[in-house]
Structure formats: C-alpha cells, structure tokens
Symmetry: C3
Subunit: 309 residues, 3 copies
C-alpha cells in the first residue's frame, strides 16, 4: 500500500515505478468520484496553503480545486504583492510562519531549490508547484497520467518531446518519470535548445531508447504522443534564428492529418501559437483533458501526503 | 417548475416573466433561510470559478458569498495580474482551462460579448457578471427583486431611471426585465446622456409607457421608485456642461422630504456623490438592502444552473 | 460565562481580566482540538469578510485559517487594488456593503480609528486587525496567550519590551492587557523611541512596576520574557543615530546564552535582523509558536463574537 504521509513532493525523480502506479490508480479513483459529482470529505478540517511567489493560473487553480473537491480549505496568496515577502521577509521565515497555520504547503517560487529549502524548515509536507527553471513534479505526474489514460499505458509507446528542451522544467521533470517505462523518446528541438546532453546520456545509460532531431515532421509519423512546449523568444541571442525556427514547430491540423491522424497531442499550457486552434477540436487533442487530469493527480497527492486515505 | 440546469446567464433579455418570477420566489426562499443563519448544503462538493478580468468588489464578493452560503467552494482571481492572461493567453483558452476545474463559471470582463464567447466554449454554465458596456443580468435581477420586495410588486408602479442612461449597462439590462411588468418608466437624463432611442422605441412598441425628461425634480413626485446611477465626468466633451448637469442629479434628504417622502431609492453602487449621505438613514433608502439582495438572487441563479434544487 | 456575541473587537483596553482569561481558556480548548486534527463545525454556514486595505500576510492568513478551522467561509481582498475602494468609494460605504454579505468583518486599514468608524456603521461585529499606528488587539491577545502558555502565567513575571516603543502599536496594545496582571515591565528603547510618557505614567498610576532603560544587556538577566520588535530606520532623522542604536538591539544566541539562557523570546514578526537566525532553534525562542497561537486566539474571538459556543 502506497504511503506518502508527511512526505514532501519536490522532484519527479523521487518516485519509484510502483509509487507512480499507486498515484495514478488513486487519481483514477478520484476522477470517477468527481465525475459523479460526489462530495468528498477526506480533507475536512484541513488547510492547504497555496503560496504563489510567482504568477500561475493553472497550477494554482488546479491545486485549489483539488483541495476543495476533497472537502478541505485553502489559504494563501496569488502574488507576493501585499505580503510580508514584499516587506523583506526571508523565504524561510515566511514558510516557518505559514507552517504554523497550514497542514500542507503548496508553493511556486522563481528560484531553483526554493521548494527544497522550504521543505527543510516546514513540518507540514511541501509540494513543489514549480521552482523556477528547476522542477515541477506535479506537472510531470499529470502528464504521465494523461498519456496513460489516453493511450492505455506507456509501455511500447513512442513519445515525442518538442520545443525548448533545454530550459523546459516540464520536460526535464517528465523524463524522470518516463524512464520507468518501456517507452521510446524522441527529442525534437533546434540545436540551440536541445535537451541537456547530461540528461540524454543518463537516460541512454538506463536503457531508455532516445533519438534526437530538429525536424518535427520527420518524427511525427513514428509517434504515439506529441508533447508540445513553447519556444520562448527570449532564449535566442539571434532574433533571425528564432524567426527561422519557431515556424517548424507550429502544429496544425493539416500537418496532423497528413502525418499522423491518430497522434495524441499534449501541451502543458498556456500555449501561444505553437498549436493552431484548428487542432483543438480533434478527438486526440488532449491538452484540455490534460489540464483536468491535473486536478485528479493533485487530489491524489494531497490526500496521500496528508495521510487521509 | 423552473429549470435552468446547465444554462448560461448572459443577458437580461433571455428571461420570460414566468422565469423571472420563479427566480424571485427562489431568492425569497434563500433570503429566509440565510436570515435564520441556516447552513445550506445544496452545492456541497461543487466549485464555482470567479474570474474577474476587471475589478469589482460588490459583484465578486456577492457571488462568492452566495456560493459559500450554499455550501459550495470558490476558486478564481480578482484581477488578471499574476494570471496566464497576463502571459498572453487568449480568453477562450483561459475559459477552456477553467472549464476543466469548475462546475460553474462567473466572469466579469471589460469586452462586450466576452461572456457569450466564453459560454460558447465552456461546458460549465457561464454567468455574466458584467461584460464592459454590454450586459449585467444579475444586477438587473437583483434590482427587480429589490423593487418587488420594497414595493410589493412592479405592476402599477412608476420607476424613474436617472443618470447616465446612454452608457449604463445596469439600466439597459434593467429595462429588459421591467418590460414584462405593467409599470411606467420615466427616463431622467441630460440630453447628452439620454437612453438610446432604439431602446426607448422598442419599449414603446411593446406597450411600455415611457416618458423622458431632463428634470429630476419634475419626475420625482409621480414616482414609486428612483433608480439612481452615476454620471461619469469622462463622458462629457465640455466640462462646463458636466458642471451644469451633475448638480441637478444629486439627491438630498431635503429634496426627498419636499418632493416625495415615500419614494423608494435604489442605486447599484458604488456611489460617488449623487446620493447625499443624509439620505442613507431614511427607511426607504434601499440601496444597501439592494446589495444584500444580490446574494439571494445569485444563490438562486447558482442553484438553478447547477441543477441542485 | 463569557459572552461577546455581536461585540466589536477594537482595542486591547476593552477587556477585563476576567474576559481575558475566558478568551485564553477558549483558545486553549481550540488548540487542543486543532492539534487532534478534529474538524469543527461551529461556524458552518457563516461568512467572514477579510478586508485588508493594507498588506499583511500573517494577520490575514491567520484569521482565514481560524475561520476555516471553525468550519466557516471567507470572502474579501488582500489589497485594495481591484476593489471599489480604488474607484473612490468611502470606507463607510464599503463597510456598509460588505455588512450585507458577511456575518463578521475583519479589517486592517492604514488609518487610525478606521475600525471604530467601521464598527459604527456595521451590524456585523468588526474585528480590528490593525488600524495604522492605532490598535492591534488580536496581536496583543495572542502575545498574552503565548506568555501565559510559555511561562505558565504572567503574575510575578518580568517582561522586557524592546525596540521602537514610541510607534509600535503591538506594544501599545500589549500593555493594555499586561496591566491586569501582577507583572513587572521593563521598557528598552533608545531615547528617541521611548514609550510615550503618558502611557508609562498611566501604568505607574495603576500600580504596574515599570522601569525604563536604553540598555538591553542590562535588562535581560532580570527578565522572564523578551518581547522584541523592529526598529524602523525611517523613524530616525539622523542616520548616524540609527546606525549607532540598531546594533544594541540585535539579539544573538551568544547574548542569550551569556545573559539569560532560559529567557522566553517573542516577536510579532516579520523580523528583519533584530533576532539572529541562530536563536531560532533554541527551545525558548517562541516566536513561531506565537504565530501559531494567533490561530487559536482568533478562533476564540470569531466563535465568541458570532455567538457560536
């Protein structure tokens, strides 16, 4: 039986395959219960602190929905404006204080390592909702859940990760989970935004089949899943290089229909223009379902770390 | 039996008189139950998204109170700062995402038509909490409820609408409801801020008796209800014209006592100076009760569109 | 039996010793129940408005936690941005409106007397969460609770209040409570930031033994409790004077171990540098427990003024 009571969720790499499967099954249960609009009382009387030192709609609203759906309460802030952080309080003092109020702390912070720093001083379990360019483990878990749910599992699947693989914390967190499964990975990125070689190397040493290419169209026909991410203009020193590359990574309905009509398409959202809106109505455009899955996965994590199962 | 399950509330004009009366009766029931401080469980387990793309204290707090009083939960934002809207996400993508989390979406947005645009993509019912200079149907419903409650009904009553009738979404939404009743309307506005002729014309074709004047003092003695609104300085090209007009539309206790001591006074609030504070303590100054009624009317709408009755 | 139903909490001076003891005992009960993670239903169906016209993390989150722990709901704002206050609504109109929605109003406002002004127009009980340089009664109550809890009572104890005693609303509110107990007070402040002579004089007339000094090291050996506050640079006309003084009021672990290892250390937080972080891990560094006590004391006040006991 999966027991995460009192544990921090900091990093995709902390989970075994067995733990991942336990979280996935629990999230499936919660999905079924929410779809029946069944009020849950598991977290009644408990308080989750939602500390967003950096803007986020999706992660924040999804965690808050998860806590409410479990019957719990939420305190917190959506930005540091109007908080004692703005008055110069250290992260550690803010966390130590909120730790006096809440049973669980969910946080997003612009600085790598901040969630780990918080976890070191808090008695309440800390869930990392994104620490700068560091980790974002709950996003990785909901991505895993979505692939599992859309494709019936990861074993034997080919997953294309496309976009800014150098800086994207979402894909870095993701591969830490995918490595537990018998899936093949294709990394599609322009040379300047390739997956860090250390990560690619480590995956290969673990026996994960990894290919690399800059050509999305070439990769798509062999894929079961496309995980699309945003290419961020500000990463490019040379604007002409940005202009040249960004267009190869705009997924359109025509491309999909021509190259792989059954491809499952994911995106952590928000998107800018890397997936054309004409893709949205395809049955295998799964990115809004993926957002919904975030609620179920976070319900599972909250209930697990609170020991309320 | 009134059934609005799953329906969007976008526009005052969408309701029949029968539906209006059903909403009013339900709001009366909720008023009685809230006044007894009776905890309600109708919406337990449900989540309302409160999306305020534009500032509002009253509408937001009133909707959130309504949801809490029904035993439900609330997620959302009070401004777009710190949301993915600020990161350039489209309205449609934001709505589609929040639709994955919430059972009901309440929104205010500066752009006319935005609520309808949201309703077109959301599966959850969308309630328009004000779309720029467009509609504000829940305000109109609470105004109707207040007149009904203060005067025992609208039939046979004379209602003065005063102030900026050209731009005021509150009065535009209101007349779409009043037209179902055998009441007389007097529009009091300076020439430059008159009710749009198309609206006045349509009301007359429907058989609603409508008078127009610029002189508030002349209209007051014949009225049962005065619906006061703010005249906004920025609408005037000529500041001298504004200076000349604004003073005729400051309601004072002395005016009321001289012209019509039993007049019921409404205002959507916030007011600036168009109702002197010495009016507040009169028994027929109903604008704070009107704010309270907003909770009961919104409780009725939330419970109806959620199908929880 | 302590009855505060419907009463406003505006000022530390409003309480008798008997009332203080009643609040303390109730807060102890709530502490025991929260520590058992026992869900409470006392405030189910009730709504607390949390109106922060001025930033605060601690007071706001602590009040909101308290209301949630009691099973109640919360509406409000964390800053006036995006509210009708920003549109020029008066405080009185905002309060009158929120009074239509909520069963209890908690407010922080930059202006002295604002909470009293609000209480005069609201039917709901108003709890002052800090009115500028005025009062902060719930902070004083939680400080009292902490001293009682850490030292087993106030009678016979010596309490050092250190820092900016001239401007600190926390210490001004505190002495209004300490005066009911047989404790000795030592005020430690630089000449320019001394406790206002009117307060010191009044305490002496009430028979409270009060000493004054500028030398913290001299006062510490005789103390049971040190209540540390921040010295604010902006209060000093002469920066050199600030530089000279601030260092005498930095409490370090070495100072404590040398002068009084058993001293209980309190601080209202946030701190800047007036308590070195090496003090934090000492068993008698009580300032984070003090923050936690704020939840229990506020639970007691909320339940009392709501008449839900």
């Amino acid at each position: 039986m999966l027991d995460l009571k009192g544990q921090d969720i900091l990093d995709g790499a902390q989970f075994s395959r067995e733990q991942l499967e336990g979280i996935m099954r629990l999230a499936e249960d919660f999905r079924a219960q929410v779809r029946e609009k069944k009020p849950l009382d598991l977290m009644r009387g408990l308080v989750m602190a939602s500390l967003f030192f950096e803007p986020s709609t999706r992660t924040r609203l999804s965690f808050e929905t998860a806590m409410h759906r479990l019957g719990g309460s939420v305190i917190g802030f959506a930005s540091t404006e109007g908080t004692s952080v703005a008055k110069g309080e250290t992260l550690v003092d803010t966390i130590r204080t909120v730790d006096q109020y809440a049973d669980i702390i969910v946080m997003r912070h612009p600085q790598i390592g901040s969630a780990r720093e918080a976890a070191a001083v808090a008695q309440a379990p800390v869930i990392n909702g994104g620490d700068g360019a560091g980790q974002h483990p709950t996003q990785a878990l909901l991505d895993l859940f979505t692939i599992r749910s859309e494709c019936g599992g990861l074993d034997g699947r080919t997953i294309v990760l496309c976009g800014d693989l150098k800086n994207g914390r979402t894909v870095h967190a993701g591969v830490e989970l995918y490595k537990h499964y018998a899936c093949r990975l294709i990394f599609v990125a322009p040379e300047a935004l390739k997956m860090p070689p250390a990560i690619t190397e480590r995956l290969r040493q673990l026996g994960v089949p990894v290919e690399e290419t800059a050509d999305l169209a070439e990769a798509l026909p062999r894929a079961d899943v496309l995980y699309m991410t945003r290419i961020q203009r500000e990463r490019f020193a040379d604007p002409a290089e940005y202009e040249r590359l960004k267009d190869s990574y705009i997924l359109t309905r025509a491309m999909l229909e021509r190259l792989n009509p059954r491809l499952t398409v994911l995106h952590p959202l928000p998107r800018v223009n890397e997936i054309a809106t004409d893709v949205d109505s395809l049955p295998n455009a799964a990115y809004f379902r993926q957002a919904q899955n975030g609620v179920y996965v976070r319900m599972a994590l909250l209930a697990l770390v609170a020991g309320r199962l």
